[in-house]
Symmetry: C2
Subunit: 146 residues, 2 copies
DNA sequence: GATGAAACGGATGAGCA
DNA sequence: TGCTCATCCGTTTCATC
């Protein structure tokens, strides 16, 4: 990837609403050249979308946790991600190497909500769970150094 | 929070570059009313920014891992987050309850890069590490159900 | 990749409920 | 306080070189 493209990715990762004009100014390109670069980066799948960053606490989800999943029946088909995709509390699902099969990141309103979410996860996916509660988050979702 | 604000947050979480005009159309508001709502949500800290979503693989960081940290000297001041903030590979740092003190999420180019990153982390923060490598990510950074 | 023109969206202030 | 409307200016988009 070219250096200008790296710059564009870095700038848009920090301010996703930046105008193509400002992007051009920052990279020494005309507005339309900057826009073309962005379109190409989108088409190549480098930029997959734009999102507002939402403060989970401010929207009533102050409790974050990581939940590791272990299938109870190792011979059963492993479709935990699909079975859990419908739960809005589940922000991320990673398949991992190691003792456990998956790591989920979840956001809930309260310990009680976490308790019932865990019950739902166990029932739906046929897994046992190990939960690690997040106390604070010094930083999160920092843009990658491209 | 009002229902219209919830709608706005949900829409902007899915498309952070949506125009205020479209946002107004989707919520039954005028352009400037929608814009005012967004400004207020920003000021109240509900919306903390806008970011392009970058495909880590596409920018040469195909390897994701979670690293749990345990301080070697429990009596030493615990400033691991600050000590590691300068490492661009570290995307997130959470302080957690449980056996370990912190969970990091990191993105690197290769197993070799992970190896040297681990050495750096241990040296800089005075911790022992436990690494869980991500094999695949069925989903990630799904917007919260506000 | 740059330029220029037309269409569009964003910002702002006045007026109103 | 929060909305609409009108207006101005910057931005986006597209054709063209």
């Amino acid at each position: 990837m070219e250096d200008i493209d790296r710059q564009i990715v870095r700038l848009l990762a920090r301010d996703g609403r930046m105008s193509w004009t400002d992007l051009g100014r920052a990279t020494g390109l005309s507005t339309s050249a900057a826009q073309q670069r962005v379109r190409r980066l989108e088409q190549r799948g480098v930029l997959t979308g734009y999102a507002a960053v939402v403060d989970a606490e401010a929207v009533g989800l102050p409790l974050t946790a990581f939940i590791s999943l272990t299938p109870i029946d190792p011979s059963a088909p492993d479709d935990a991600p699909e079975r859990l995709a419908g739960l809005p509390e589940v922000e991320a699902c990673h398949s991992v190497a190691g003792q456990e099969s998956y790591i989920l990141k979840v956001r809930v309103a309260s310990p009680g909500a976490l308790e019932s979410l865990l019950a739902t996860i166990r029932a739906r996916a046929g897994v046992s769970t190990r939960t690690t509660i997040v106390l604070s988050t010094p930083y999160e979702a920092r843009p990658p150094e491209v």
